[in-house]
Amino acid sequence: MSFQTFLQHLVNGISLGSLYALLAIGYTMVYGILRLINFAHGDIFMLATYIAFYSITTFLLPWWAAFLIAIILTALLGILLERAAYRPLRNSPRISIMISAIGASFLIENLAIVFFGGRPKAFPIAPIFSKIVRIGDVSISIVTIIIPIITVIALVILNFIVNKTKTGMAMRAVSKDYDAAKLMGININHIISFTFGTGSALAAIGGIMWALKYPQLIPLMGVMPGLKFFIAAVIGGIGNIKGAVLGGFILGLGEIAIVASSPALSGYRDAFAFILLIIILLVKPTGLLGQNSAEKV
């Protein structure tokens, strides 16, 4: 492999890794607070791309307005999802909440099939995003460069919210100890809604960039990526935002490395994430950056 091809793959890997990182954060934030795998996160991601699609094609909005609307609406949908599917079950056994999450995910998918149609749709890409730049001998589409930049900006903002604001402090408190946080006068419901909103907004940003990179929309597009985003979160240590970013990059770079190293292995690309997951769960179940917590009897 020449140095030039290596660079090409590296750029692709970083770009894919940033997408995984962005989406994994949504999983990790929700898990950190509610100890719940939000199976519907992948479908929220799918809805964001469809909202952007219809804003551009049906309502003829400029791309930036469409993207903004998609992010806001998706955040609202995320909050709605939590209200409808998770809040009523907050004190139920874990297995019920998980079934509810799976049910919500399938309900959204099936509704999407009914309303958006099962046929793939081509995402309209504004000309700005389809340019190709050459840096030295490496030619890269502009989207590939934009993705990591947007990811970094989103992460800086998120980091500020979580670590410097009062809401962020409350979020950290809830994830540390749910009951104690309640006793300290934190409005748990607000914080959970806010978490779902933020996570879904990040999913929308990721979804739009995903659609710019792979411009084909189908109602089931969130299923497989959704599982991978979750795996990225587990690899890094679920409940830990930095871990989610690390896991996302490991997964993204690893996948590209597999495809790049030998074409014979490229069919196993989807299995790679799951194999990595199992290895991590066996070697270090808390993930790379996760903290051990003793089980209380």
């Binding site: 799976i102 919500a104 009914v114 069919g267």
Partner: protein, 355 residues
């Protein structure tokens, strides 16, 4: 008391057999097909209920074990000509080309292969709990699917296998009902015996409180492993039957969606009850056929509604959500059907006192 129960069970089984004879005569081929599919779903639902309902392990790997069973049984029963016709991209591995076993042996081997896969997967994965277990089993079933998609010379890859032999040793379609429902009866009897044995009590103890169960001296890992392997064995058999029932299998059939269908049946019926799985499997299978009208054109009076494909599944997912949100017990909760219900009826008051 004990003898009475055995007699009652035998009477129930005899009643079911008589019912089957009648149904086999009365039902049209299409209705018989739906009825048989219901039977296959009963086996699958019970096997999932053992793992998820009785031991409380939230496993999402069912589709993977079904795939193992279905492919094993398909490759073992197909004739040499059928295999050569299927494998036109790449020839089949030579040691499988001439293998052709009778149907009953093939499905049992299918089940055993699924159990073997479960044993290999279970050893590392069952040490995890709750969510991690769900994701890891789901991951394994996806890995199995990806492997089957890529092993062209063994499973014919994404093209799948076509022209699987019909269920049964002859070509008569009337025979399928006996094989499928015979296996349903065997599965139910086996599960009831298992659940009421000491192992079954240990399973329920693990479900209720793992730590307390361990403190009582129950070997957690051994029992979890056992339930997982037995459940997967029946999942493999169910998958093999499904393959022969559909005559065609390909890796896309064994997606996560298939596992979801079975979860739907188990949850609607009530997690942790065999009776409810049986009723729910039949009801859901028939309802899925009846609700097909939603996907097509409907005429109510002079009003014509154009159905949208997929509406059917919306109804089922919404139903699942409603049940889990408002009526978590499902149809029957953890109750089971038993003859003592009938004893409570007025005309049998005498017997009720004895028991």
């Amino acid at each position: 008391m004990k003898r009475e129960k055995v007699i009652q069970s035998l009477i129930s089984i005899a009643a079911v057999i008589i019912l089957l004879v009648i149904l086999n005569k009365v039902l049209t081929p299409f209705q018989a097909r739906i009825f048989n599919l219901g039977g296959i779903y009963i086996i699958l639902a019970i096997s999932m209920n053992l793992i998820n309902g009785f031991v409380g392990l939230f496993s999402l790997g069912h589709a993977g074990f079904m795939a193992v069973g279905a492919y094993t049984s398909a490759l073992l029963t197909m004739s040499r000509e059928a295999k050569e016709m299927n494998f036109f991209l790449e020839p089949i591995v030579p040691w499988l080309l001439d293998v052709q076993l009778p149907f009953p042996i093939a499905i049992i081997i299918g089940g055993l292969m699924a159990a073997l896969a479960a044993a290999l997967i279970g050893a590392p994965v069952l040490r995890l709990n709750d969510d991690y277990l769900a994701i890891a089993t789901l991951g394994f079933s996806e890995i199995i699917r990806v492997i089957f998609t890529n092993t062209q010379s063994l499973t014919n890859g994404a093209l799948g296998l076509k022209g699987l032999p019909y269920i049964g040793v002859t070509d008569s379609p009337k025979e399928a009902i006996w094989w499928i429902w015979g296996l349903v009866i065997i599965t139910i009897v086996f599960m009831v015996l298992l659940i009421n044995s000491t192992y079954g009590r240990a399973f329920k103890a693990i479900r209720e409180d793992e730590i307390a169960a361990e403190a009582m001296g129950i070997n957690l890992f051994k029992h979890k492993m056992m339930a997982f392997i037995i459940g997967s064995f029946f999942a493999g058999i169910g998958g093999a039957l499904l393959g022969h029932y559909m005559n065609t299998i390909d890796p896309l059939l064994f997606r996560y969606l298939l596992t979801f269908n079975i979860i739907l049946i188990v949850v609607l019926g009530g997690i942790g009850s065999i009776t409810s799985s049986v009723i729910s499997a039949i009801v859901v299978t028939i309802a899925q056929e009846l609700l097909r009208v939603l996907d097509g054109k409907m005429q109510i009076g002079s009003l014509i509604i154009n159905g949208v494909p997929g509406t059917r599944m919306v109804v089922f997912s919404a139903l699942l959500m409603l049940v889990i949100l408002f009526y978590q017990r499902g149809l029957m909760g953890t109750n089971e059907f038993s003859w003592s219900w009938f004893k409570k009826l007025p005309f049998k008051t005498k017997k009720a006192k004895i028991s």
